[in-house]
Symmetry: C2
DNA sequence: AAGTGGTCTAGACCACCTT
DNA sequence: AGGTGGTCTAGACCACTTT
């Protein structure tokens, strides 16, 4: 046998970071509330100011935590506008960002299809909640969405009445289930509007639409949500910055 | 008059970072070559190890520089596959990433249109080079591209013979003109194929296509390239990670 | 004034690569 | 062995917010 190539050298600040991450994920400090101060945490972990700082710096870079000079360090939330728009990439031609208004057409429990099971990493036939909704910008229906959520990850969500589903879901996931959406993968194609798209988005059948398939993940990179969106791009477009 | 709200407090490490950035942009160290070692640079700037390190850390995070433990710190290049794919988001349905093969249909000098002038931040009518090309993946024509470059930013590029335009332009920009593409903004819409799209991409007129409009920028955020792409998304899609 | 995060230093030691 | 980047410490001082 070979010796391991990476002999598990784990810097101190990494260990501290991982510990803090676990404690945040466990809910020891709620989103929005403040962590103990740096001197206190350093004392608690028995490390120097600098080492603790390096751990917090990485958590800041990963947006798990927000620091306020003179005040303290808080667990990140979706409250801020910045966070709300992080996963919403549709902007007007003039680059105005407007939060769309959702009209929920229906929400129904079901059993995971092969695609849903694969995307959400759950067994075939596992319980899911499917939401259909149309989102409008400036009063114009633009987005036709089908959202699939794993009930296992958010127990009780299938019992939420349709009317109680809020406009901003990710904010709701965090407050209600302590599920923080941290990443999402999107793949985009161009398709022709089918009959349902045409009705809901008020365009002719065959009209070109953006088809966006999103898998959203929590902090630990567990997939939480599968979302299919059909989008009219007459006066709006999908905007992304590469770097 | 009010006093300035931000009294220009500039940390030392920021000043060092900006200085290093200027020296890299000026070409003092070519892409791929090594900077002086950390102790030497610290001595040169009259700062401590830690402060110099913080400056280099930020440059590393911004991918301006690559560090190799035990060897040194080098100016970043586009050589690495990772860098080449950073701005290429079209992948197959199975998530294979293949570099497309370009067929240049033509390259011609011209005068900037209003859209080009606005995007590239140059005067209306300023000299530009326009390139038309079709890119194929796995032998199938997928991308119909029109690229506009400002001649002022890359003097002499209008004289490059069409046959000498390489497959990977950004790599070429860096090696030939010391222009490093650092960022790009893309906006995406869905459109119906026009006659030219249909011919070049071998699809029926009216077929839904992705229309991608990219403005690529160098290190100093000066826009360098405007690119319009029409893309068939039958077996491929545009992939992006949100975080 | 006291507490928080942010910067900076000087020095020790560790991990990795080259010779 | 000697040089490079990477980690860690202890302590000083600065900037910001609150009391």
């Amino acid at each position: 046998m070979h010796m391991p190539v990476k002999p598990a050298f784990n810097p101190l600040y990494q260990q501290v970071k991982e510990s803090l991450l676990r404690r945040i994920a466990a809910g020891e400090w709620a989103p929005g509330s403040f962590l103990p101060s740096e001197p206190v945490l350093a004392e608690e972990y028995g490390v120097s100011h600098g080492t603790l700082r390096k751990a917090l710096n990485e958590l800041t870079a990963e947006r798990r935590v927000v620091r306020y000079q003179g005040k303290g360090t808080a667990v990140a939330t979706f409250d801020a506008d910045e966070a709300l728009f992080r996963f919403f990439r549709i902007v007007s031609c003039e680059d105005r960002r407007t939060l769309p208004i959702s009209e929920v057409l229906g929400a129904a429990p079901g059993k995971a299809t092969p695609e849903e099971a694969a995307a959400l990493d759950i067994p075939l036939g596992a319980p899911v909640l499917r939401i259909e909704r149309v989102r409008s910008l400036d009063g114009v229906p633009l987005l036709n969405e089908r959202i699939t959520l794993s009930c296992a990850r958010m127990p009780g969500i299938e019992a939420i009445p349709v009317g109680a589903l809020p406009n901003t879901l990710y904010d709701f996931f965090q407050k209600r289930f302590n599920v923080t959406i941290a990443k999402a993968d999107e793949s985009i194609t161009a398709v022709a509007a089918d009959k349902i798209d045409a009705e809901r988005l008020v365009v002719p059948v065959g009209h070109p639409l953006l088809a966006i398939r999103r898998v959203a993940m929590d902090i630990e990179e567990n997939p939480v949500e599968l979302r299919h969106t059909r989008c009219v791009t007459a006066n709006f477009h999908y905007r992304t910055k590469l770097s």
